[in-house]
């Protein structure tokens, strides 16, 4: 081998300039999209809420009652006790997000599902569950198929008879009492069990009872504060009681975090105190386009009076339908692929097929819904059912892919342990794999649902109406959705008043819903990841 004659005189000079410039260029590129979006969001929020139209006194009052105390308390807490700070802030966030979703739920009970009907179905569910439990417990000797058929008969029978029976009762209690029993009580039971998990049976019962009483009082106290009984009951059961229960549960488990509640109290007192003070002093708030009128009225040809109410209700119904269809199907497919599927050509084909389906444009899914549901199955265009089914097909690949990831993260040793105890495959999946993977599956499903409620094109394809003046009343009525309404305003009614008032307001509502869903998913994921480490 010939020797090289190169002589190295020194190591040369290494400049750090290129590296430094490169690094900051990369950082700038990373931030470009985020900053651009943030600026656009600021613009649209400014157009929708118009904070500068408020009285300076209004800003000053809220600055003094809300901003200053909150900043003071949080900076103190953040320096001395970051864990408590995070706890207090999370309670505030939880309360805000859950109140928003409770508002949507209240809308369903006010305008779509009367509480009596809901009560009937819950009663039917309870009776059929009780029947199934009785069959499972007392008739171990019956063969499985016989038990399965009997349970099925009880469930079908209960749902066929009970709701009608309840509705035909001549006298029934007021709506808020029905909701307290059928909606608030189950939530209070779950929350109470969590809050008083270590307090023994008596303590748990007391906690549950306190929750139910609090929810029941909502129907009485709400009207005094200007909230009608049904929304008051729903907000108490979905927002106030769960948040209070969560806070109580955490404080019982980690008493040191108690000081975080000071932050929550300061924020709440500041917000309500500020509102009362502004009212008493007569300072006018901003002339926001996102106001009560916008949230509760229907479309109008006049941008000032246009509202989003039917679209919000449609989005909620679509979301429920999509979740009900895509969650079981997606998780089912993921379970098959991860737990059952043999490693053969067919499985690999399904695998490739799913990743390709995830890349199919959403308009094509819309065409699929149009051709299959409308042309071939003869369904009417633009209903909740076919809209929900089309969107469910659209997000199914995303749900499957994320659910598979969650299932894959369950360690194999846990499965082996379960098989070692003599469990069958289904028992292992039900008792070991699914509970462990559940938070991950939930995160993926929430993110996918966020994608579904932001979709417009498939809804246009299946013929959802651009303008709708009333809420859909069932699965077969026409549906609009928030993004669809925004699109209609931005393109079909394209004019300056709509661009300046209705569209920004619609965009802000849509984004607030979406961002809070995403943040719930991200918080869940972070919590889950830190728990499993």
């Amino acid at each position: 081998m010939a020797t090289r004659e190169d002589v190295i005189e020194d190591f040369g000079h290494v400049s750090r300039t290129a590296g430094t410039v490169f690094r900051y260029l990369l950082l700038a590129a990373t931030l470009f999209g985020i900053v651009a979006l943030a600026v656009l969001l600021l613009y649209v929020a400014n157009d929708a809420i118009q904070p500068l139209t408020a009285d300076p006194g209004w800003h000053l009052t809220f600055f003094l009652t809300l901003v200053v105390p909150t900043l003071a308390v949080s900076s103190y807490l953040f320096r001395t006790d970051p864990v408590s700070f995070r706890f207090g802030a999370s309670i505030v966030g939880l309360l805000a997000v859950s109140t928003m979703f409770a508002g949507g739920m209240a809308m369903i009970f006010v305008d779509i599902v009367p509480p009596v009907v809901w009560f009937g179905y819950v009663l039917a569910l309870c009776l059929s569950l009780a029947g199934v439990v009785v069959i499972e417990r007392f008739d171990r000797q019956l063969p499985f198929l016989a038990r399965f058929v009997a349970a099925g008969a009880i469930v079908v029978g209960a749902f066929a008879v009970v709701p009608g029976l309840v509705q035909s009762l001549p006298v029934y209690p007021t709506d808020d009492i029905l909701l307290t029993l059928s909606f608030g009580a189950p939530i209070a039971a779950v929350v109470g069990r969590y809050a008083a998990a270590d307090a023994g049976r008596r303590g748990r019962l007391l906690a549950i009872g306190a929750g139910v009483v609090a929810i029941g009082l909502g129907g009485v106290v709400g009207p005094l504060l200007g909230v009608t009984p049904v929304p008051a009951t729903v907000i108490l059961s979905l927002a106030v009681v769960p948040t209070a229960g969560y806070a109580a549960g955490i404080v019982r488990r980690h008493p040191a975090r108690r000081s975080g509640l000071v932050l929550t109290a300061v924020v709440l007192l500041g917000a309500f105190g500020g509102a009362a003070a502004v009212d008493a002093l007569g300072f006018a708030g901003p002339q926001s386009w996102v106001d009560w009128q916008f949230l509760t009225s229907a479309h109008s040809g006049d941008a000032i009076n246009a509202g989003l109410y039917p679209a919000i209700g449609g989005s909620i119904l679509l979301m429920v339908t999509v979740a009900a269809l895509s969650f079981p199907l997606g998780v089912g497919a993921a379970v098959y692929l991860e737990e059952y599927a043999p490693d053969n050509r067919f499985t690999r084909f399904i695998d490739v097929n799913i990743s390709n389906l995830a890349g199919v444009p959403s308009v094509v899914y819309g065409l699929l819904g149009l051709a299959v549901f409308v042309t071939y199955l003869g369904q009417p265009t633009g209903t909740v059912l076919i809209g929900g089914a089309t969107l469910a097909l659209l997000i199914l690949p995303i749900v499957i892919i994320s659910a598979r990831e969650a299932l894959r993260s369950v360690p194999d040793s846990m499965r082996q342990a379960s098989y070692g105890m003599g469990a069958t495959r289904w028992q292992t999946i039900r008792n070991v794999v699914l509970p462990r993977a559940f938070p991950g599956i939930l995160t993926g499903t929430i993110l996918a649902l966020g994608r579904a409620i932001g979709e417009t094109a498939p809804l246009i394809m299946i013929g959802a109406p651009n303008v709708l003046f009333s809420l859909p009343t069932g699965l077969s009525s026409k549906v609009s959705a928030m993004p669809l309404q925004v699109y209609a305003w931005a393109s079909l009614f394209a004019s300056d008043p709509f661009y300046q008032a209705a569209v920004p307001a619609g965009v802000v509502v849509l984004l607030v819903v979406l961002l809070s869903m995403n943040s719930v998913a991200i918080v869940l994921r972070n919590k889950y990841q830190s728990d499993s480490q």
Binding site: A18, G19, F22, R23, L25, L26, L27, A29, T30, G33, I34, L37, L40, V44, P328, G330, G332, A333, V335, Y336, L337, E339, Y340, A341, F349, I350, N353, S355, N356, G359, V360, P361, S362, V363, V364, Y365, L367, L368, A371, L393, L396, I400, T424, W426, G454, T456, A457, I460, M461, V486, Y487, A490, S491, Y499, V503, L511, L514, L515, N518, I522
Partner: protein, 319 residues
């Protein structure tokens, strides 16, 4: 309990008991649904598009106006009222949006991926990654509104000749939308490059810059390319942003000519939405042209997805 029971319980074959069979077949059916979806997409698009073309329409038992295949793929006019169905203007507009968004998203996305995988602390990653996810999570109709109401007027102060609806701002928002896709897939590929390669680089006296550009990027090139193709296929299928921002006037433009971006055009997806929001009655030839465009779009995105898969698998460096 007698011993017989225990023997029976212990020797029972559980794999094919009714309960196991029932659950297993349910899960199997869920998985098969994805194949049913694909098959019905393909069947639906081909049969409905077949009713549109005059070559195949008689086979489907369709009478009335149809369009010839040659005219569809080579025609340069898209005027529904005159029954002129030339898809080229739509394809050229789609191509323009794709190229324009690639110019925005590819450099920014790759730079983001390099920053996240090589430079960012884990703390910065925890903040930046969810923030980037938000970019992809904003509904596309909102991006369209941003393009028309905020970006176009801002650009007009720099470029006076810009139309109210133009391809430039449509491309910019679609580009911003697909940055996270380029970034996250490329970053996965870069994170998969083993640390030993980086250490070897440092051992040779390379700076962080040299290692990033000279080692990590070449080693993850297949992943980066596959992220480009996936993101561009997403840009091609992107609907609402271009429908709102690009206007509704179909015209044939040259995507490589920068001045073409100053005016509006009608990409394929926007044409489909316009067909349905306009006065198209079900069953007419215009209605069936919807499926012909849909088929074109589906085939293009499918081919791109498959190529991306192949690139990622065939050229992946195994470490």
């Amino acid at each position: 309990m007698s011993t017989d029971d225990i023997t029976r319980d212990l020797t029972r074959r559980t794999e094919n008991s009714p309960r196991e069979l029932l659950t297993r077949s349910f899960f199997f059916l869920c998985a098969v649904l994805s194949i049913v979806t694909t098959v019905s997409i393909i069947l639906m698009l081909t049969t409905e598009a077949a009713k549109f073309f005059s070559v195949t329409a008689p086979l489907m038992g369709i009478e009335g106006p149809t369009a010839s295949v040659v005219d569809f793929f080579t025609g340069t006019e898209w005027v529904i009222n005159n029954e002129q169905f030339g898809v080229l203007p739509l394809v050229s507009a789609t191509l323009a949006v794709t190229i324009g968004s690639a110019v925005v998203a590819i450099p920014l996305g790759v730079a983001t991926a390099i920053y996240l995988s090589e430079y960012a602390s884990s703390r910065a990653q925890r903040v930046l990654k969810p923030a980037l996810e938000v970019l992809a999570g904003v509904p596309t109709v909102v991006y369209g509104f941003f393009a028309v109401v905020y970006i176009t007027p801002a650009l007009k102060t720099v470029i006076p000749g810009l139309g109210t609806f133009n391809m430039l701002s449509a491309s910019i928002v679609v580009g911003i939308m697909i940055i996270p896709m380029v970034a996250s897939i490329s970053e996965d590929a870069m994170s998969a490059v083993p640390d030993s390669l980086r250490q070897a680089g440092y051992g040779m006296g390379a700076t962080k810059f040299d290692v990033s550009v000279g080692i990590v990027v070449p080693a993850s090139l297949s992943g980066i390319f596959s992220s480009f193709i996936l993101a561009l296929s997403r840009a091609i299928g992107e609907t609402m942003a271009v429908t709102v921002a690009a206007g509704s006037q179909a015209n044939l433009l040259n995507p490589l000519n920068p001045t073409a971006y100053l005016e509006g055009a009608l990409p394929m997806t926007a044409a489909m939405v316009n067909l349905l929001t306009g006065d198209v009655t079900g069953g007419g030839v215009a209605y069936r042209s919807l499926f012909a465009i849909g088929l074109t779009l589906f085939v293009i995105t499918l081919i791109m997805n498959i190529i991306s898969d192949l690139v990622a698998q065939r050229y992946r460096e195994e470490y």
